[in-house]
């Protein structure tokens, strides 16, 4: 029974991916992609990666989907002319052959992997007690491989700098996105008043529960960012100008605290990002707490895009 379910799930996933690739309409392709993201959440549950499922549900399906929908809406008129640029039949065939070859090569690799599978689960299980957290993924993210997480937070900041640097000169320092024209008593405004309080509770809960169960700062921050964006989408609040000092401080506060705790480790534990024995849990919680608002801001601003409106007087 489980096999039947999994095979059906895999077929549905492939079907949706194929649909996303071959359909003619831009909007429909984006919808296919969102459905695909939601479906892969189920696949991750089947693969016993609940943390990954949570991230995929939050970022893969939700935020990426909204990002692409917005872009598809703004670029919808550009699709018609581009249909003339469809590559010739030979190129399509060649692309098909190359892609099939890559798939087959990967498939052969999948079937030829060594047995028994290498795993680091035993090492994690042996050392997790030192970190004080109960969720092995959180232990990996913030203790065993915390350098990855630090660099990830910095990559997000760099991506945001890249997005901002695309602003036209006269808009630099201004507000990102267009002003929203929405009926203040409309249904969207209603939803944007009712949903965020609930969303903030859920986001904080997902963040907090991450120490011992699936969850954590990225997933929590995504939910908080989504609620912030919903309020802006409904026109209840405007996007902040990117020249605001509080905004810039908020963006770098998380990574700075992370780096500071890392440097502290040089003195107390003799290693960058090392934690002194017994202090691992409070330091991990401090890093996560500092990263949460920064990540919320970065994720929300990444979705809003480059500044488009000049600085207010």
């Amino acid at each position: 029974m489980t096999d039947v379910f999994n095979i059906g799930l895999a077929l549905l996933l492939l079907g949706l991916a194929a649909w996303t690739i071959v359909t003619r309409e831009l909007f429909v392709a984006v919808v296919g992609f969102i459905a695909y993201g939601l479906l892969s959440t189920l696949v991750w549950v089947q693969l016993h990666g609940i943390d990954v499922a949570l991230t995929e549900a939050a970022i893969g399906g939700g935020l990426t989907g909204v990002l692409l929908i917005g872009a598809a809406g703004r670029l919808r008129n550009s699709a018609v002319a581009l249909n003339l640029e469809v590559p010739s039949m030979q190129v399509r065939w060649l692309a098909g052959v190359v892609s099939a070859a890559v798939s087959i090569a990967l498939g052969v690799c999948v079937l030829a992997l060594p047995d028994p599978a290498p795993t680091l689960a035993h090492e994690v299980a042996a050392n997790i007690a030192d970190t004080g957290v109960g969720n092995p993924i959180t232990a990996v993210l913030l203790a065993f491989r915390s350098m990855d997480t630090l660099l990830e937070a910095i990559v997000l900041l760099f991506a945001l700098l890249g997005v901002w640097s695309l602003a036209p000169d006269q808009s630099w320092g201004g507000r990102p996105g267009l002003r929203q024209q929405v009926d203040p008593n409309g249904i969207l405004a209603y939803a944007a008043r009712v949903l965020p309080p609930l969303g903030i509770i859920v986001g904080t809960y997902i963040f907090w529960v991450g120490a011992d169960h699936p969850g954590g700062k990225f997933q929590g921050a995504t939910i908080l960012a989504a609620m912030w964006l919903l309020v802006m989408m409904a026109g209840l609040a405007d996007a902040p100008p990117i020249s605001r000092t509080w905004l810039r401080l908020g963006l770098v506060a998380g990574p700075l605290v992370f780096i500071a705790i890392g440097l502290l480790g040089l003195y107390t534990a003799g290693d960058f990002l090392g934690y002194p024995p017994g202090f691992a849990k409070p330091l991990i919680v401090a890093i996560e707490l500092a990263l949460l608002p920064s990540l919320t801001l970065v994720l929300g601003l990444l979705l809003l895009g480059a500044p488009q409106r000049g600085t207010p007087p």
Partner: protein, 95 residues
């Protein structure tokens, strides 16, 4: 019991897939908005059933996240489609 829950999850998923085929073939903007809605409801139901079948308590948290983000995506989608239609109408009336 787990067997039954898995069967129910598969059934709901199959229904969602069937509905999705219909919606994606229709290809009007309103129909595609419904696809997100359909996946929000059906996907969450399948996820909850799957979580109960495998005994992973944390799946409820995933479903909670999905419920919030699917709602957010639906609102964004309706707004994008509505804005696009509004702008098209404006262009039409201008010319």
């Amino acid at each position: 019991m787990a067997e039954f829950l898995l069967m129910a999850a598969g059934f709901v998923l199959a229904m969602v897939a069937l509905g999705l085929v219909r919606i994606l073939r229709g290809a009007s903007a309103a129909d595609s908005m419904m696809a997100v809605q359909l996946f929000g409801t059906g996907g969450i139901a399948a996820l909850l059933l799957l979580g109960a079948a495998t005994g992973e308590a944390a799946v409820i948290d995933v479903a909670l996240t999905l419920a919030l983000l699917a709602a957010f995506a639906s609102f964004a989608f309706v707004k994008a489609a509505g804005d696009a239609a509004g702008q098209d109408a404006k262009v039409k009336s201008d010319t």
